[in-house]
Symmetry: C2
Subunit: 574 residues, 2 copies
């Protein structure tokens, strides 16, 4: 790969771009734009921000990701979960500092972008592996429920609010007397229409003679149809006078580039939410990117992906947008509609730019209930409780992690939910890696092979203990090795020689070295020698740089068989 | 072990207690008491609290640990690092909430005790293994420097303060004109005296014909001699009139049992410092307990230790004390002086109770400079920069962790230092466990053994890829396995069969199962079969509960040789 391609992955496809690819990308761009118009407005509403913030987050960030991202089909922009998290973060901060919600969201995007890019430059992409997908899916299910409940207020035309399931239900219940029936008819109507399209749209269209593939793409137009229909209904029937809340005036024109507010108070209040949004947004993006990439043998570079998403968020912040990430549904549509390269996203960005420049006056009478309905239908698809049953069959620990994460997210809000998910994931990993794999081995008679005494009929002597360590030795497993050796060596009074078979030890850290020294000393005090066999070259070099061998009570042998024979000889058993 | 012994470990030694053991324990108790009187007062001073708080923390907590702890010789009470951390936590909170420093320290001890006990009941003791000893020693070195600098103000008799090395040096420099020479003479004199005793006390006493063992114990009396000498000097010369700060009136009597202040504001401000103190205190205690336990074949139960320390801290809080933990120097003296059981600590607690009841009036004229001098001499022994050089030879990653932790602790204070140490430790562990050990294996000709192709001359076919996974499969390593299989299978166009040798897979979690399903599907699309060999019983049972085998493109074989032969047969290579 050329060095320039590594810095700017877009150069790879730009060199060989042709007319065929262009027409494929163009079709995908048109379809994604049609999806993105209502989504960008809806997710701005979900985040508690003016509608234009959603449009702005769908222009420059897409173009910047197209240049720096490593996926050819990932569609970046506002998404449901990140918008909900933005609402949670921005609401509090705005109340406590007096900064406007929009300014806080912009700073949040800038912080998140800076963190993502920094993680990418530090090559920390591997850390995403430590967030269990199972835990993330539990978090997404719970968040989707909170999102759906939070949007009910727009369907009912009431002022309810809250961050947790308890607060939301209580608030909706208290405000239900204010119910606005015109709003409810619009919202409920759009929900029913979208659900019908989702469940039977494709089969209906194929009956009309449209190919299954085209029918699937056509159903994506449903939200825009709902937008147009309800705008027409509201403006022709004058429903806004009946109390139907509408989007209202959206400024016309492209976003102005501006520097975010980096005041200390704002950074102090937003760094943690920014970190949590970054983590969840990144994990979601990479998982979507990998799923799609897998279908066309495309590798996603975790670190480049961090840089791409980071740059997109910084671009969003500097052009007045909210935090963005790779969205699942839009990316799948982009892929299915035939997008070949990120040129599709560049064109989508241009189309949304055109919308911002010329079409925003048409959106004046768009009811908020329509947008809320599209959000509700979109997030209901994310709710998946089957993971509880599925994990139960595989691992009870996973089920516990799922239930805890769902419970905390629903009961204490998204920020607590993500934090809990991260802690639970890392806790599970630590628990599972706290005990290294160590096997007691013996000689298979007639050979020079050593195998686990529990699973093979092997030759052993009560005076010789041979342990094979199947991992590198680190602070986290060193004390377990120590306990294991002591319990094996001291509980059986006959042991005179311990042999550590170091076949799989690629590295030893300083704590593990100190532990080995302590083991050697304590065994020596009991008249037991410590011997090593099959020590790898680099480990040997490292040990030679210390004074370990000066104090070692036993010997170092090239092969385990050699060690076993020598020790057997010393005991007069050979 | 009896169930009652498990709940109350003290029952073990109580049953067989005799006169011989009593006299051993009594001698140890006397010597530890002599050490503990100046230390308890000094660490209260270091924590910014009245002297009696230190005494109170040295009565009930010792007795409670004696009943619930699992170490027979650990000496629990106020220690330097925990007291410094208390000072940092309590100083801020006291300034912002108006609660007295003593009340805040008591709440801190209660929170820390509750957390430790809860971790113990949840059996989370294993988590301590994930805090690298190397990182902890770096933190201790940096903290010792901060402690020594923070005590210089008492030696100089000035008002300086601060939490970081920068603040402390600046503040001392600014206040140096206020220097009180009488105080300086006392402080410097005590430092010189204690250093001399430390460096040549033992050889001096042995020249007087005292046995080396007794001489070592006798040197522990030096701080008490300094206390007596300086009390006499101050009261006879009237030095307090010269501006020598003294401890002053300490209330006479035993601590009153009282309920700590559990107001929400205090808990919100103190839970994080309490958690950090708990972690550091616990890790230190267990490491001291294990070191001493190792010398007499005594096992330390990590979870019981959490419960013992937790109960001791709760006891400290309810009797007006500050956070306590197992101290290194006192525990070593307790052990060396011949303590056999925790009865020694019970007696020490009784002796300190007697001091509180009757002797506090004698301490009125004790100069703070004397206490500061004992602290400085004690913590200087903790400073150890050699770890930088030692780790450099073994692991550069460890050296980086050490330097970062030292730098953050010195530059940003102890709380930032501990947090950083924990993050660095977990980060190192995650990095080291992010790539599972996976080997490509082939058949050793003439045998049924399969070995790593990189290290053995083995039989392989370009159509067959056999990978041996040397670990259980979890979310954290599943995607690495996926990448590894794809790169091996797709970069080489000839592969037709993949065999996963599952010898070391003890467990598969839900994410890993999903990953295996994805691998199977993607290989199938490329016309490659996925086969498993040597799957362990419990893993097989789990997979049978899912529909994994219904979709598996290949077969499951009992042995790797069977798998290899069958696949070779399919290819007509047999």
């Amino acid at each position: 790969m050329r060095r320039s391609d590594k810095l700017l992955p877009a150069l790879r496809w730009m060199r060989s771009y042709d007319g065929q690819t262009f027409s494929s990308d163009l079709i995908a761009a048109v379809i994604v734009t049609i999806m993105l118009i209502p989504q960008s407005l809806a997710y701005a509403l979900l985040a508690g921000l003016p509608a234009e913030v959603g449009l702005y987050a769908s222009i420059l960030p897409l173009a910047v990701y197209a240049l720096f991202g490593s996926s050819s089909t990932l569609s970046v922009g506002p998404v449901a979960i990140a918008s909900l998290m933005t609402a949670a973060a921005v609401g509090e901060v705005s109340a406590s500092t007096g900064v406007s919600a929009t300014a806080a969201a912009i700073t949040l995007a800038a912080l998140s972008g800076g963190m993502l890019a920094a993680f990418g430059l530090l090559r920390l992409g591997f850390l995403a592996n430590f967030l269990s997908h199972t835990v993330v899916s539990a978090f997404i299910t719970a968040s989707a429920i909170i999102i759906a409940l939070s949007q009910l207020r727009h369907i009912f035309g009431i002022q309810a609010g809250g961050d947790t399931i308890g607060e939301l239900l209580h608030s909706i219940w208290m405000h239900i007397p204010q119910l606005n029936f015109s709003t409810l008819w619009i919202g409920a109507g759009v929900i029913v229409f979208l659900m019908l399209v989702k469940s039977s749209g494709v089969s209906f269209l194929t009956k009309l003679g449209i190919s299954r593939f085209r029918a699937q793409l056509l159903t994506k137009v449903a939200p825009v149809l709902a937008v147009i229909a309800t705008i027409v209904a509201v403006s022709s029937l004058g429903l806004d006078a009946d109390g139907v809340a509408v989007v209202g005036a959206i400024p016309t024109g492209l976003p102005m580039l501006a520097f975010p507010d980096f005041s200390i108070a704002l950074i102090e209040a937003l760094w943690l939410p920014a970190l949590l949004i970054s983590i969840i947004g990144y994990v979601e993006s990479v998982s979507v990117g990998r799923t799609l990439g897998g279908k066309r043998q495309e590798r996603i570079d975790a670190d480049q992906e961090l840089i791409g998403l980071g740059a997109a968020n910084v671009a969003s912040a500097f052009s007045g947008g909210l935090p963005v990430t790779g969205g699942f549904s839009r990316s799948v549509v982009n892929f299915d509609a035939g997008a070949v390269t990120q040129a599709a996203s560049l064109m989508t960005a241009a189309f949304i730019g055109v919308v911002s420049l010329f079409l925003t006056p048409l959106l004046y009478s768009l009811p908020k209930a329509t947008l809320a309905a599209t959000i509700i239908v979109a997030v209901i698809a994310l709710v998946d409780f089957s993971v509880i049953k599925k994990t139960w069959r595989v691992s009870k620990g996973d089920t516990a992690a799922v239930l805890v994460t769902m419970f905390i997210t629903l009961g204490f809000g998204v920020e607590a939910g993500v934090s809990c998910g991260i802690l639970v994931s890392i806790g599970l990993h630590l628990y599972r890696t706290s005990k290294p794999h160590i096997a007691e081995v013996g000689l298979i008679e007639g050979t020079e092979h050593f195998r686990n005494v529990r699973r093979y009929q092997v030759e052993c002597y009560p005076q010789i203990l041979t342990l094979r360590v199947d991992e590198s030795l680190f602070f986290a497993n060193a004390s377990y090795l120590e306990e294991r050796i002591y319990s094996a060596a001291f509980d059986n009074g006959d042991i005179a020689h311990v042999i550590l078979m170091c076949t799989a030890i690629n590295e030893i850290d300083y704590t593990a070295l100190e532990t080995l020294e302590a083991i050697n000393l304590r065994l020596k005090q009991q008249g037991i020698t410590l011997n090593l066999s099959e020590v790898k070259g680099p480990v040997m070099d490292m040990l030679n740089r210390t004074d370990f061998f000066e104090h070692l009570s036993g010997e170092v042998y090239l092969s385990q068989f050699e060690a076993f024979s020598a020790v057997r000889g010393k005991l007069g058993l050979g």
